[in-house]
Point group: D3
Chain length 242, copies 6
Amino acid sequence: MYKIKIILPVATDRYNESVYKEIKGFSLDPRFEFEVESLSHGPISIECEYDCAIASPHIINVAEQAETDGFHGVVVYCFDDPAVKACKEKLEIPVVGAGEAGVHYSTLLGKKFSVLMTIKNAITVTREMVENTVGPGHLASIRVVDIPVAKLDSSADKLFEALLASAKDAICQDHAEALVLGCTGMLGMAEKLQEEISSDIGAFIPVISPGATALHLVQSLVLLNYRHSGLTFMTPPDKIRK
Amino acid sequence: MYKIKIILPVATDRYNESVYKEIKGFSLDPRFEFEVESLSHGPISIECEYDCAIASPHIINVAEQAETDGFHGVVVYCFDDPAVKACKEKLEIPVVGAGEAGVHYSTLLGKKFSVLMTIKNAITVTREMVENTVGPGHLASIRVVDIPVAKLDSSADKLFEALLASAKDAICQDHAEALVLGCTGMLGMAEKLQEEISSDIGAFIPVISPGATALHLVQSLVLLNYRHSGLTFMTPPDKIRK
Amino acid sequence: MYKIKIILPVATDRYNESVYKEIKGFSLDPRFEFEVESLSHGPISIECEYDCAIASPHIINVAEQAETDGFHGVVVYCFDDPAVKACKEKLEIPVVGAGEAGVHYSTLLGKKFSVLMTIKNAITVTREMVENTVGPGHLASIRVVDIPVAKLDSSADKLFEALLASAKDAICQDHAEALVLGCTGMLGMAEKLQEEISSDIGAFIPVISPGATALHLVQSLVLLNYRHSGLTFMTPPDKIRK
Amino acid sequence: MYKIKIILPVATDRYNESVYKEIKGFSLDPRFEFEVESLSHGPISIECEYDCAIASPHIINVAEQAETDGFHGVVVYCFDDPAVKACKEKLEIPVVGAGEAGVHYSTLLGKKFSVLMTIKNAITVTREMVENTVGPGHLASIRVVDIPVAKLDSSADKLFEALLASAKDAICQDHAEALVLGCTGMLGMAEKLQEEISSDIGAFIPVISPGATALHLVQSLVLLNYRHSGLTFMTPPDKIRK
Amino acid sequence: MYKIKIILPVATDRYNESVYKEIKGFSLDPRFEFEVESLSHGPISIECEYDCAIASPHIINVAEQAETDGFHGVVVYCFDDPAVKACKEKLEIPVVGAGEAGVHYSTLLGKKFSVLMTIKNAITVTREMVENTVGPGHLASIRVVDIPVAKLDSSADKLFEALLASAKDAICQDHAEALVLGCTGMLGMAEKLQEEISSDIGAFIPVISPGATALHLVQSLVLLNYRHSGLTFMTPPDKIRK
Amino acid sequence: MYKIKIILPVATDRYNESVYKEIKGFSLDPRFEFEVESLSHGPISIECEYDCAIASPHIINVAEQAETDGFHGVVVYCFDDPAVKACKEKLEIPVVGAGEAGVHYSTLLGKKFSVLMTIKNAITVTREMVENTVGPGHLASIRVVDIPVAKLDSSADKLFEALLASAKDAICQDHAEALVLGCTGMLGMAEKLQEEISSDIGAFIPVISPGATALHLVQSLVLLNYRHSGLTFMTPPDKIRK
């Protein structure tokens, strides 16, 4: 049995159970088990570079402990990929960020895609992450629903309406051909949105759940004995870090 | 039980069994079964644009028949991705090319990667495929082992030596940080090469088997109910095609 | 006397005569003669990747025969450039696609250009062709008139109105500075549209006919003793192709 | 009869006759006649941005006079394209620079090409011209033969040897697949080099003469009633220019 | 005391005094003194490639004289950077163009910026200058206020209104995050516009004055003993330039 | 009197004095005073993404305190720009990273530049920083001297030799035209290296000290009343960050 650690990079365990429930719907491989863990310290949500920076050391702590505890892979369950590169440098098990996973699946399924984001603050970090991952040629736009992370779970209907409206604008105005949710906290939205927007547009529009793709990717890395390159992500040199 | 059709785009069934044996080592999901099929007509190997063009209609035939026969997904098992876009237009089940799959995994695992290719003739088609998939920023080089496809299975030792030499040159001279095999017919090479080159270099170097990644990707698409965008790959209009 | 084969990649000879008549207006070099040939098999029009793939082997057949018959150059007379790369690999006489020709002239004459396309299905193949030819920096937009190829010749007035409207949108909304017709079957349109749109906008707007530019380009290649590089387009290796 | 003005942007008429003789070998269209004119003032050769800047007003003068005199097109006969954009703004007849022409033909004939340049000083201006014309994806390298323009005509043998050596390096070390001469003053070299390098390499390597391609391009523009876009190259506003 | 020559590349001394007054507000370093000089010949304003070409030799003359006269640095005070590269080749003191300076500051302060330009004619030269300086990834748009340079100083109120409207459009429609004035002759506008647009938008929007940034940059180059690379900008070879 | 906080992002005050001494040689503006502060916690040097991530919250703390204390600007004195974006989001005074400053000056002074780096581990973070700052078109190479940060101050002679050797390789093999030190801890090297390498090569080669350029840039931002855009770097939303 392979074990995957899912790190929620937020200093609250309020989402742990609902995320665990969500991933049960991802048709994961029966040879794997998953454990969700949030942070003891840091921001209660990730919505900008400032949050990423503050959460990073705590994400690294959880990731390092997971490797020590014998986990076979780690997923940083946030679209902004906080501390993902640092974890890849330090760990010798596969580490996947939900952002990079979502971006790779989006590019595979559509030539141009849009990100449906929570609030404007995350646009800068997202744009850079996307362009560093697959170049500038695939991002049609980043559209925001203007609902902060902390309100996502109490606003399911409003969120769905806003996602649907943003999805239409992304397709009709920005020429997006696929969509990816810009936050792993938009629980229960991807499949429903995929169905509705595909029906509205009259063509199949994939709506990528970044968390789902990260979990499937990390499974395949473990099973195929792959992980990130030790030349791209060299082991940090020994030194005092106090 | 989900069924995946693996299309070998070559007009010989000489490789069917060995490919089927090879994929048994890919730790695939137990909920899936796989069927390997080659072409009745076309070139006996794919090594250039000319081969791709001649094989394409026959690949499409097999892919269309697979959809009719109730398969849940199709993999075109060749690094040059012949007819993959045409199949995506026509089919409403997931279609994955081994080339695009290998390129996405390589980019995920290393910032710069090299393709280890059979012969020079495939360089032009490969370069374009890589750049169209993830932009020009990730391709360190394409290096050839100078062994044609038809000789791959009878030259295992020579092939491995040539791959190892090319891998070293790619890393040391072209600054590659990850490697991907440029042909799905280099059976039994990826894992062994990954081990040896990592040991030689003193850092983990992922060596991607494009076929393995395509199969894992198509599985995840089926399980997550994703497929290519109907806006990027619109259904071909009805017309006489004689 | 030099002889050029113009391949209409459609399985109907319905357009042969009108295309031949059209090229009479291109002020071609008196030292050349031209022969128009369509396909015996394949789709009756080219409007997507699927059509390209199915037509390709038949295009190659005509092209190879043309070389055998002593023609001095070949033009694939379609904006999507089906099988053009394959033909370049196989032939040792100049081969020019109408798409690449139109794109080079457009880039030469305007910094940003738009393609005026028949129907949406061709957008993906066109976008990639343009970006592979001159990079992503020149394409302002692809706009469609929503008239399929098969209706082009019976809808001259409607087609012209639609082209004019698309041309204005391309210039005013997408900041195009030059235009290229996205189909070689829009007979008799380019010059008239160039006149009208230039007059409307109050500045000279070149409207490129891709077929006309391909014919002038192939003439110059023949006269200057140039053809495609044998390193970019290597001769396909001998093998069984059944 | 159409008339083309060939502007040699150098303040000496020493090359006029030899250039005129050279173009006789370009198999130009019998419906055209050509007139070669050099500058009354300016540098005696163009080898850097400084030379371009000093020659520019004098090039413009000759070009404006050519339009007044009823010429149908203008070619600025220098690979660095000095004043070409300024002339396009001012003139309403086609203007073609030998540099842009050579770059378009090179890109058409090979995916990657190298420029064979006179001396190092021209590298900066050339690199920018190439990248502005067809993007950064096609330039393999710029190699210099280290012979200044003024010595080109008295060093034919040395020049050929140096070109051949540079050509080999460009192909073998920089992976060039086509070549373009970086100076219109390398008279009588292109065809001979094409023959020799193709034979040496064992594959056809096009060696583009930028002047030849500019003349063929300008002919086709005149015959097809095309010229540069009035939106990219807007007419300069009236004002005092003393 | 260090001395900087500010070259106004216009054949009128009508702006010398007002520019000198303007730079007094730039908080320049007390160790420097500045001298403004315009051209004896050339166009009375720079608004297109044609103007740049005609002004260039006269700019070079002033720049060369400044070096001879013992100035420590030169600023070409125009957003289109006319003759800047030629001056860098010839001079061994720092040369800075107001355009490149403005573009570097804009990129530093905002990920995407728009240029607020005088009239449409300058768009082509500006677009190329920006992309050559920091790549294509930063330019959100170029918007024009449609007031020619010669009318700028007599239209202060109208200019400010037009800049403010363009600024809002650039931010709201083109997603600009920073702004740069596209002309050094928009005296007294930058600071006021920065204040007003920031207040309107509700976020700090830097409005870069290209002249101000060029002067600060050239000061730092002088103080740190830096100047442009002699390999990028090689000394022009000796030759007759009459 | 303006006050600038220089943050050394290392958990040791061992370098504070030598850095302060170094900046005395930067000919800074007499209207400014500077204060150097290192971190109480974090790694003792920054050499990879892992170090950046761990140091980031502590850098932010110092930066926020500096703003509270009335400083007018902040420089993060490290070439890898750790926490620079997070600080820009949070602070309303100018924040400049030594990395982005060095890259802008390098691009201004040379078309292609190389980074002379300490150890290999920093290559990935550096490459991404450079490409995000000025696009991929300017980076010739990153070369390492293979001396860790902690040994830099005790290895002055060895460091200089290694820098000189790397500089020559960067210029001769990678075609660099300017150089930038990849670490702000290479004290006393830039000017000396600039002199020696320029003399060796026979052309002026700027060798950028990133710290020096950051200090001059931040001065100009303060004096001109500029800072980063509030749209690129939006104020982090209020939330619990424990």
